[in-house]
C-alpha cells in the first residue's frame, strides 16, 4: 500500500493518505505533508518533539495534528520525517515527531505550506483500511 498520493488542485495541493489503522494513517498524512515541504530523502535526525492535541472529532483531529506539526516547523525550524504515534483516539492524540533542524538543510526546502484547510476534509474507512483527504493552502 502506498503511503499517500498527491491530489491535484488548481491553486493548492492536497493529499490522500492511506493506513491500515489510524496511527498509520496519521503518520502517512504527516509524512506526505513534509514531503511537499522538503526533500526528505536520506534525512536523518535526532530531535524528538512531543505532541499532544485534542479536537472535536477524528477529521478535525487530523487537521489539528498537521497544523501542530506545521507550527513546530515554522517556529522551531525542524523538518519532520518520522512520527511515532503513541496514543490516538477520535478526539485526542499523543505522539513524538522526529526531525532535523533546517540549518544546513535549507536547500532541501521546496514549498511553503501556509495552512491545513478543512475544505473537502475526509477520514474514511474503506475495506478495512483508512483513507484521508486534506487540502493545504500553499
Amino acid at each position: 500500500m502506498e503511503r499517500y498520493e498527491i491530489i491535484p488542485h488548481t491553486a493548492d495541493i492536497g493529499i490522500k493518505a492511506y493506513g491500515k489503522n489510524l496511527p498509520e494513517l496519521f503518520k502517512n498524512a504527516a509524512y506526505g505533508m513534509f514531503e511537499i515541504i522538503a526533500d526528505l530523502d536520506g534525512l536523518k535526525g535526532s530531535i524528538k518533539e512531543p505532541i499532544e492535541i485534542k479536537a472535536d472529532n477524528r477529521e478535525e483531529l487530523l487537521v489539528a495534528w498537521l497544523g501542530e506539526l506545521l507550527y513546530h516547523f515554522y517556529t522551531k525550524q525542524i523538518i519532520f520525517f518520522d512520527f511515532d504515534i503513541e496514543e490516538i483516539g477520535d478526539t485526542a492524540l499523543k505522539a513524538k515527531a522526529i526531525g532535523r533542524h533546517v540549518g544546513e538543510n535549507r536547500n532541501r526546502l521546496k514549498t511553503e505550506i501556509k495552512a491545513v484547510t478543512y475544505h473537502e476534509l475526509k477520514v474514511e474507512q474503506k475495506e478495512g483500511n483508512f483513507v484521508s483527504t486534506v487540502i493545504f493552502d500553499v
Partner: protein
C-alpha cells in the same frame, strides 16, 4: 479535476453568468460570475463554480455571491470571490472568506528610470534584490522587533515602520487605509500568531509572491497615466506579498473556533472551511480585531519590502532617492474583509465585504481616495504571471454592482503538480531569459510551479473586467526582472 462542472450557468450578458438560487437548496442568493464565453469554459474545469454556489449559503449575504474572471478552485470560498453580508441583518464574517494570507496584496512603485537605463544593469539589479530581500520558505527578516513593538505595529501598520525610518509619510497617503485599518485588536491575536509573525517582518514569502521590475509597454488612458506620472517605456516595481505566518495562524485559529459557531448560531454551510459567525457576535468581533492586526502587519511588511527595493536601486544605479523618484503609486489588498456602506433597495446598509482574491476598486469621487486620485478613481494593481504582463487599472462608478471589487490577477489554470510535470526537463529561467526576463528564485520548484502556462492569460482577464465596466485599463507592464520565494 478533469470533471467538468455541470451546474446551470445562465448567460446574463456578454460578461456575466448566473448560477440560479435553484441550483441547490440552501442558497440565499444567486451566484454571478464575470467571464466571457471562452473564460467560462476554463472556469467549468474545476470546482470554483460550486464554491460560488456554496458562498451563497452565508447568512445575511446581499445581492449575489460574486466571482471575478480570474476565479479558480480555492477552499471554502473560490479564489476570486466577493460576498457582502448585511451586518444588521445577521450578516456573518468568515475567516475562509478572507483566506490564510490576510491582506495578501500588491503595491506598485514608479521610478524615473527608462527601460534603456535599466537594461545594462538588469542582472546587477535582480541579483541585488535577490540578495537583499529575504524570501523563501520560512525565511526570516532583518527587521527585528520585540513583543511590545509588534503590538504597536499591529495597530499602526505601515505608519509604524515609516516612523522607524522605513519610508516617507507620502507613502502612507497612497496605501489603502493609509496603511492601518482602524479597529485592530492585538489582544485577539494568539501567542502562536505573534510567535510566527515576529521573525518574518520584511520578508517576501514564497509561492506566487514576488518582487518584479517592469516596464510600461502600453498606455490606454493618457489622462489617468499622467496623473500617476507614468508613460510608455518607464520602469516600475511591483511587490506582491502578505501577512506571512501571522496571518496564516490567525486564520487557522479563528476557522477552528468558528466551526463551533456553526452550531451555536444555527448556521448551515456546505463546507467547514466556510465556518463563520455573525459580525455582531463576540466571535465575529474578535476575528475582525485580529484580522485587522494581520492586515496592518501586511501593509507594514510591504512598506519594508519597498524600503529594501529602494535601497537596492540606489546602490545599483548610484542615484539618490530624489533622482530615482521611487514614489508609491498605490498599495491595495486582495484578501480582506472590510466594513463598507452601500445603498441596497434604496436603504443605506453597513456591509461586511469579503474579498478573497479580489481587489477593491472605488470609483471616481469616492471619499476614501487620496485627493490626487479623486477624479480618476482608485488605482487597481493586477499582477500577471512572470512571462506575460501586469496591469494598472482604475475603479469605476459601475463597480458599485460588485461592491467596488474587481479581479486580482491572472488566476491559476494548472495545478502546481501538473506544472512541475510540464516543466520537467525544461529550464523556465532560461526560457524567460530568452525573452529578456531575468528570474531568480529560492525554492527548488517555484519556477516550474509558477510557469506562465500555469496561469490564465491576464490580458483576457483584464479585458473582461474592462468590458464589463467594473474597472478601466490605464496601462500595461511587461516584466524585466523577477525575484520569487
Amino acid at each position: 479535476m478533469s470533471d467538468i462542472w455541470q451546474g446551470a450557468l445562465e448567460k446574463i450578458d456578454g460578461y456575466r453568468w448566473r448560477i440560479p438560487k435553484s441550483h441547490k437548496a440552501g442558497m440565499r442568493v444567486d451566484g454571478i460570475i464575470y467571464a466571457d464565453e471562452e473564460m467560462i469554459k476554463d472556469i467549468r474545469r474545476d470546482k470554483a463554480a460550486e464554491q460560488v454556489a456554496n458562498v451563497a449559503f452565508l447568512p445575511g449575504i446581499v445581492n449575489a455571491s460574486l466571482a471575478m474572471p480570474d476565479i479558480h478552485w480555492g477552499f471554502g470560498f473560490p479564489i476570486g470571490g466577493v460576498a457582502a453580508t448585511d451586518i444588521e441583518n445577521g450578516g456573518v464574517i468568515s475567516p475562509g472568506g478572507v483566506g490564510y494570507d490576510i491582506n495578501c496584496g500588491v503595491r506598485l512603485i514608479k521610478t524615473n528610470l527608462k527601460e534603456q537605463d535599466v537594461k545594462p544593469k538588469l542582472k546587477d539589479l535582480v541579483y541585488g534584490l535577490f540578495n537583499n530581500v529575504p524570501a523563501g520558505v520560512g525565511s526570516k527578516g532583518d527587521i527585528r522587533i520585540d513583543e511590545k513593538e509588534e503590538r504597536q505595529l499591529l495597530v499602526e501598520g505601515a505608519g509604524w515602520v515609516v516612523k522607524k525610518g522605513y519610508g516617507k509619510s507620502e507613502d502612507l497617503e497612497y496605501t489603502e487605509e493609509k496603511g492601518a485599518v482602524k479597529g485592530a485588536n492585538p489582544d485577539a491575536v494568539s501567542d502562536r500568531a505573534y510567535e510566527r509573525g515576529k521573525k518574518q517582518s520584511g520578508t517576501l514569502g514564497s509561492g506566487n509572491h514576488f518582487m518584479e521590475v517592469q516596464v510600461i509597454d502600453q498606455v490606454y488612458d493618457e489622462e489617468a497615466a499622467n496623473i500617476f506620472g507614468l508613460e510608455s517605456g518607464r520602469v516600475t516595481v511591483m511587490i506582491h506579498s502578505g501577512s506571512r505566518g501571522l496571518g496564516y495562524q490567525i486564520c487557522e485559529d479563528y476557522t477552528q473556533g468558528m466551526i463551533k459557531c456553526l452550531q451555536k448560531y444555527n448556521i448551515n454551510v456546505p463546507d467547514r472551511q466556510l465556518a463563520c459567525a455573525p459580525v455582531n457576535s463576540d466571535e465575529g468581533q474578535a476575528y475582525l480585531g485580529a484580522m485587522r492586526c494581520a492586515a496592518n502587519y501586511a501593509w507594514a511588511n510591504r512598506q519594508c519590502l519597498m524600503f529594501l527595493a529602494r535601497r537596492v536601486f540606489e546602490t545599483v544605479f548610484g542615484m539618490g532617492p530624489k533622482d530615482l523618484g521611487m514614489d508609491l503609486i498605490y498599495d491595495v489588498a486582495h484578501n480582506i474583509a472590510k466594513i463598507e456602506k452601500y445603498v441596497i433597495d434604496k436603504k443605506e446598509k453597513t456591509l461586511c465585504v469579503h474579498r478573497k482574491g479580489a481587489t477593491r476598486a472605488f470609483g471616481p469621487g469616492h471619499p476614501d481616495l487620496p485627493v490626487k486620485y479623486k477624479k480618476i478613481g482608485q488605482p487597481v494593481i493586477i499582477p500577471g504571471d512572470m512571462g506575460r504582463n501586469s496591469y494598472l487599472l482604475v475603479g469605476t462608478k459601475k463597480a458599485e454592482e460588485t461592491f467596488y471589487s474587481t479581479c486580482h490577477g491572472a488566476g491559476r489554470m494548472m495545478s502546481r503538480s501538473a506544472a512541475i510535470k510540464v516543466g520537467r526537463g525544461r529550464s523556465i529561467s532560461a526560457e524567460l531569459e530568452k525573452k529578456g526576463i531575468i528570474v531568480k528564485s529560492t525554492g527548488r520548484e517555484t519556477l516550474a510551479e509558477e510557469m506562465p502556462e500555469a496561469y490564465k492569460d491576464v490580458n483576457k482577464v483584464v479585458n473582461i473586467v474592462h468590458e464589463a465596466g467594473i474597472s478601466k485599463r490605464v496601462c500595461r507592464m511587461r516584466p524585466l526582472g523577477v525575484i520569487k520565494g
